[in-house]
């Protein structure tokens, strides 16, 4: 019997026909561009032709998008991992593990030593779709990406957990001018790290490993990345022929047990099969008819901007340049705000060249042009400003507000959906009142749509238009865009047509902005005077979706995509400058920007610096975390008070007792150890132990331990713990002490004094998932530090059992030392806070309470945000420096975690004092922060205070954070 395996994945469809002797007589690998029904029919007839007449053939479908199809047409289905397993078993040599990358799935199969199968969870990071997105971002096709990667010289750290994170890492690299070759290879390495980090979950890759799936068969540079990172010998890495067909091949083998089918009638069935549409999953059409659309277009055409001709314009002009994450916008504006010239272009990683061309054109159109002033904004603000010697750089939010007010002076709400960010702010009395920026997890909205359009084989404009009259837009949910991938997959599975998917995506982007970013509860939250802008909202479908959702007719300036540049130009008009220092036409001729990169050697951080030289001796260094590379290594200490650095310093200053009688005891420096370090250090030192600690976090440390992290969605501080343990094990430490502490100290400001479940019990996870811990003495007993008397009792018992320390006096002394140290530490913090506040007052400096949890002090966790704030000239303190209230306040939430109680306490303090503002650090994946952020925001907003939240994860890019902080400082300025 002939057998057919049909593998319908999220992006591709693969087919294999086997003859009686298991020879492959037909194979096909194609992108289906969401046209699964049509493609399948096509393939069926092709396959039918490949099989000799009257030969019976059976068929089995596999793949995530094939499930529904198999059900509907009544043929066999095999789960794709099982199909893979069957295929691999037919391979002549023993395979120990399989790594398979598909469109949106990544799988790891361990075949020997206990069969285990792992699939990526709800996240499509590190898969084919991710690589596709990244290729689009670099403006290359997959083949070129592969070729680029081969020429790479260095690897940048790129977060691989999802496409969106990676984008936020890559975009600045592109904007800073990093080499595409290097980025290409970095992308591959990110994929490798994601696969290992997400799917190995504590198992090592040993023996012979087979690599399967489309991406791994087409891209040899990706293959090499896997081999390099896993350190495989040529014999160990198996890249079989037909790797992209393997799953289909397995399905065909599986079809052995099926009855023959009639292919022609199957094709018929597919044609006539109408997916059952689930009730309630469909939305109202965006436009019911052409008239509605015409009316809509006419209304928005009214939001005009005055124009004039640049060629003949003889009054002074200003230039605004918005170098965004994916596009570059240039606007030349006349005295009355009339638009004289504009450019809107995809930057394709070449922002500087585009701006150069634009300026050349401006000089060409009007050689006599009098440029009064110029300003840049957007992600590439600094680069553009320096490259072209512009007069000013302003934060995007200010640029957009300035532009919006030109169209609607009494604007109350401004929404901007750009390529990668959603920015919105409320405006009160003409000033920015609260700012909402999308968090790392939901960014990328605009570029998501265009990537999606491209992957489905459409131009973005055309793709969006498809949705305008879609009768049943599919409901794709309102979470982060990455998750939409799977929602779309589901819709495809149900056979939803592309117009309805397009309309659904438009609605999702809007809902995402409203409910995820702005967190609006009712439509009235936004007010009635709304201006929308940003390239993404140029799209009529998205704009319509927004109007329908908020039930307000909003203003979209005809230059919605240009508002950043236009605003910057308007802003520049107000600068006290007579003549811009912008490069002249003459200077432009010799302008030749080059980028080199080097590793900064001034400190242990070894930042990877990108150095842009502009051909005339000027250069711009970026990628630095401090100012030393800018000042020939000198550290100019602008920082006055920075509690984060102070706390790190305190830990750094503690000394281990040398030649301690009882030997080493090692402590992983993470999570609650940042709070309790002084306690335990004093305790063990008093007992004559030499206390060793792992270093403060860094990325290498994380990568070192990531293969044992069992849960890919847990917070980054927890993930780092695995690296800390690995570090201590590498150092040969034999005794690791990391107790479980469900309870924290009771500071009498809360209903209870718990730690969060992760802080409380993470040692359990380490013990269960890090095999190497079995070889050492890993001590993770449960203690309650809040009850000193009982703690003493349990400690006496523990020390007696463990170290035969029986002298109660000795224990008591150690405990006294521990509590004393803890007390000194806390009192020291209060005192530091007091001094900082006093200093700020005397010098009239703003104070930022960078509020989070004690472990946010770790530089790898906060990515240097504390220093960034200090660089803005503010005094930085942490939530635990502020005096505790002397009573338990009743909160809107159950207040039962010590760390959180301090947050609320700090929020209250901020509300009752002047010139002090709160910025909350939130770890991505921290479930408890869903509770705390709302409560902190409530407390602040009830008291008309600004609330700023920064979500942090493994991403190391501070671009979005900078915008937020600059906007905050701009708002503080305005408030005064």
């Amino acid at each position: 019997m002939y057998r057919i395996g049909l593998d319908i994945g999220s992006t591709t469809i693969k087919a294999v026909v086997l003859d009686e002797k298991d020879n492959i007589i037909y194979k096909s690998y194609q992108r289906h561009r969401a046209m699964i029904k049509e493609k399948t029919q096509e393939l069926l007839s092709e396959m039918e032709a490949s099989i000799p007449e009257n030969e019976p053939a059976s068929l089995v479908i596999t793949g995530s998008a094939g499930m529904g199809m198999a059900e509907r047409i009544g043929v066999g289905f095999v789960q794709e991992v099982i199909a893979t397993q069957i295929a691999v078993e037919s391979y002549p040599e023993t395979i120990d593990a399989v790594i398979e990358l598909g469109g949106e799935d990544a799988k790891v199969l361990f075949l020997t030593g206990g069969v285990e199968v792992r699939m990526n969870g709800s996240c499509a990071g590190g898969t084919g779709a991710f690589i596709d997105q990244m290729a689009v971002l670099l403006d290359v096709d997959l083949e070129q990406l592969n070729e680029l990667a081969k020429k790479a010289k260095r690897i940048y750290p790129i977060a691989s957990r999802c496409g969106v994170f990676a984008k936020t890492d890559i975009q600045p690299l592109l904007n800073q001018g990093a080499a595409k070759e290097d980025i290409a290879l970095s992308i591959y390495h990110a994929v490798v790290n994601q696969t290992i980090g997400g799917l190995a979950q504590g198992r090592d890759f040993v023996g012979r490993i087979m690599f399967l799936g489309g991406p791994l068969s087409f891209m040899d540079a990706l293959q090499k990345s896997f081999v390099d990172v896993l350190n495989l010998s040529p014999d160990q890495a198996v890249f079989p022929e037909n790797a992209q067909y393997y799953v289909a091949y397995g399905a065909a083998l599986y079809a052995n047990r099926e009855k023959p089918v009639n292919l022609a009638s199957l094709a018929e069935k597919i044609k006539s099969s109408n997916q059952e549409l689930a009730e309630g999953n469909y939305l109202e059409p965006l436009f019911a008819n052409q008239e509605e659309y015409d009316e809509f277009c006419a209304r928005h055409a009214k939001a005009m901007v005055k124009t004039a001709d640049l060629v003949s314009y003889d009054k002074p002009v200003t230039i605004g340049i918005d170098s965004g994450s994916t596009t570059v916008k240039v606007a030349v504006v006349g005295e009355e705000g009339e638009l004289l010239y504009s450019v809107y272009k995809d930057n394709n990683g070449k922002a500087v060249e585009i701006v150069k061309e634009a300026l050349e054109e401006i000089y060409k159109l009007n050689p006599q042009v009098q440029i009064k002033a110029s300003a840049s904004t957007g992600y590439g603000e600094e680069l553009v400003k320096n490259a072209f010697r512009l007069d000013y750089g302003l934060v995007e939010t200010m640029a957009h507000l300035t532009a919006a007010q030109k169209f609607m002076p009494d604007v109350e709400f401004l929404l901007d959906i750009g390529g990668q960010d959603i920015k919105c702010f409320k405006i009160k009395n003409g000033a920015i009142d609260s700012i909402f920026l999308n968090e790392a997890c939901s960014s990328g909205c605009g570029s998501f749509i265009s990537t999606f359009a491209t992957s489905m084989g459409h131009e973005v404009e055309e793709f969006a238009k498809l949705g305008l009259f879609a009768p049943h837009p599919v409901d794709l949910g309102s979470r982060c865009t990455v998750f939409m991938n799977s929602s779309v997959k589901q819709a495809q599975k149900e056979g939803v047509t592309i117009d309805n998917i397009s309309a659904g995506l438009s609605v999702s982007v809007v809902k995402n902005a409203l409910y995820k970013v702005i967190r609006a509860n009712s439509k009235d939250d936004l007010g009635k005077k709304i201006v929308v802008q940003g390239g993404t909202l140029l799209n009529d479908a998205i704009l319509r979706a927004f109007e329908k959702e908020v039930e307000v007719e909003v203003v979209r300036p005809v230059i919605a995509g240009l508002m950043g540049a236009y605003g910057a130009a308007l802003f520049a008009k107000e600068l006290p400058i007579e003549k811009s220092q912008i490069l002249t036409a003459e200077e432009l001729k010799t302008f030749a920007p080059t980028v080199t990169s080097r590793i900064c050697q001034y400190c242990g951080n070894h930042c990877q610096l990108s150095v842009n030289s502009f051909g005339d001796g000027r250069e711009l260094i970026s990628g630095n975390r401090c100012e030393r590379p800018l000042n020939n290594g000198l550290l100019i200490n602008k920082t006055t008070f920075n509690a984060y650095q102070y706390k790190l310093g305190l830990i750094g200053k503690t000394k281990a007792k040398k030649d301690a009688k009882r030997g080493h005891i090692a402590i992983p420096m993470g999570l609650n150890m940042y709070e309790n370090w002084h306690f335990w250090h004093a305790f063990w030192t008093a007992l004559d132990f030499e206390v060793i600690r792992s270093p403060f976090g860094n990325r290498e440390l994380y990568l070192h331990g990531q293969h044992t992290v069992p849960s890919d969605t847990i917070c980054y501080p927890a993930k780092l713990m695995h690296g800390h343990i690995e570090y201590l094990l590498d150092k040969g430490e034999k005794r690791i002490f990391y107790p479980c502490l469900p309870y924290n100290f009771d500071e009498h400001i809360s209903d209870n004094h718990y730690n969060c479940p992760v802080v409380a019990y993470y040692p359990e996870v380490l013990s269960a998932n890090m095999k190497a811990l079995k070889e050492v003495d890993f001590s993770y007993e449960y203690f309650g530090l809040h009850n000193r008397k009982y703690f003493t009792k349990s400690m006496e018992h523990y020390l007696k059992e463990k170290y035969s320390i029986t002298a109660k006096k000795e224990v008591a002394k150690a405990i006294e030392a521990a509590y004393q140290a803890q007390d000194n530490y806390r009192q020291g913090l209060f005192k530091y806070g007091e001094e900082a506040l006093k200093y700020a007052k005397e010098n009239n400096l703003p104070v930022i309470v960078l509020a989070g949890r004690p472990y946010h002090v770790d530089p790898e966790i906060n990515h240097g945000i504390d220093k960034l704030i200090a660089d803005f000239g503010a005094v930085v303190i942490s939530e635990d420096c502020l005096p505790l209230e002397n009573e338990k306040k009743r909160r809107g939430v159950l207040n039962q975690w010590t760390y959180h109680a301090r947050l609320y306490n700090a929020a209250d303090y901020v509300c009752t004092h002047d010139n002090i503002y709160l910025v909350q650090l939130v770890s991505f994946g921290c479930g408890l922060d869903a509770v705390t952020t709302d409560e902190v925001r409530d407390i602040l907003e009830r008291n008309h205070q600004l609330y700023t939240q920064i979500k942090i994860d493994e991403i190391n890019n501070l671009g979005a954070v900078k915008i937020r902080l600059r906007s905050l400082f701009a708002a503080i300025e305005r408030k005064k």
Binding site: Q79, V117, G477, M484, C740, P757, V758, R890, D934
Partner: protein, 423 residues
Amino acid sequence: MAEELLAEEERVVFTKEMKENYTILVPMMLPIHFQLMQTLFAIEGYKMEIIDTRDRRVVDKGLKYTHNDICYPAQLTIGQLMDALESGKYDKHKVALMLMQTGGGCRASNYVRLLRKALKKADLAYIPVVSLNYTGMEKDPGFDLNLSFTFKLIKAIVYGDLLMCLRNQLLPYEAEEGSVNNLVDKWCREISEQFKAGKGLKKKEILANMENICRDFAQVKTAGEEKIKVGIVGEIYVKFAPLGNNNLEDFLHKEDAEVVVPGLLDFLLYTIDTHQEDRKLYGHSKAKAMIFSFLVNKFSALQNEMIAAIKRHPPLRAPSNFAHTKALAKDYIHYGVKMGEGWLLTAEMLELLDSGVNNIVCTQPFGCLPNHICGRGMVRKIKEGYPEANIVAIDYDSSATKVNQENRLKLMLSTGRKLADAQ
């Protein structure tokens, strides 16, 4: 000025008068159990209505009124209640809401407060929210959870566990479609009637009922070969509530599997039991620990009777008792892990494996912190002890898609069948 602005958040108390003429709305979790408990509440004079709406509106309301990143169970239950309030079916001035509150170190303890926040957003802050808790966190004069009533509720839960356990093991094999569910319905009605007549709660009556229930179920005509068994564990709400887990039980039935779901009583026993550990580890109140120890024993006795009754009627299979389940976890996770489902989650997986159920779905709301520890975090260690364990962890939230979940479930089922064939 600040003092004023920082005004206390007062809560609306559920008064004795309200008990007379207010309807208390409760979101559904476990159909059988809740039906029986509802009857008991009615006998005590509470008008209670269980809300079981399941359409998309519920999720939308949840997203609208709660933080987008809060646990899925909070989104769903609060969504259901807010949806009910906005449905126009209830007089908003004659209605109260109820949620359970465990008071542990997990964010679930905050649902009651989050519901109040939601009400405030909807300008419905005058609606009282009753907290069903045993930690004394909140007390309402109109809502009296005295010991004798609590005992009654526990008995209803044991009935519920029994019926659920028998239903699950017979449903995939019934020769006559509908016979098992009919029997469940019949007994739910019967027990409710007994409750109303003041019966069914004394030990003798309970034993007789258990015996009769088991006999009835043992007589259900069955057919077909033995099916693959799949256990469901996880966060309490998404484990039990079909709304929370995308009808997981139905899906598994359709995939020709037999579903095994550990009962609700174990969870209650676990929450009570942790007090003893608190005493041991942190020196918490001895008296409290003693009372709770007494209660664990008392309720366990009831569970043991249930198990004995099932065992008297082979081929019906009984679950392990609490003590045994707990003992299984000893070498895997510390009993000090008490937030969320804590060590019980690990123990339930072990209990399933111990009784030959090798395939397990570990359900969890996306971002559930305790689950990172005692669910996913323990899988590797469990596999060391039970190499045949086939565990899949599934995340549930408002935007997780069925196709991804089902694909992973299918993989688990295929792997399970393959492992079973190999043995």
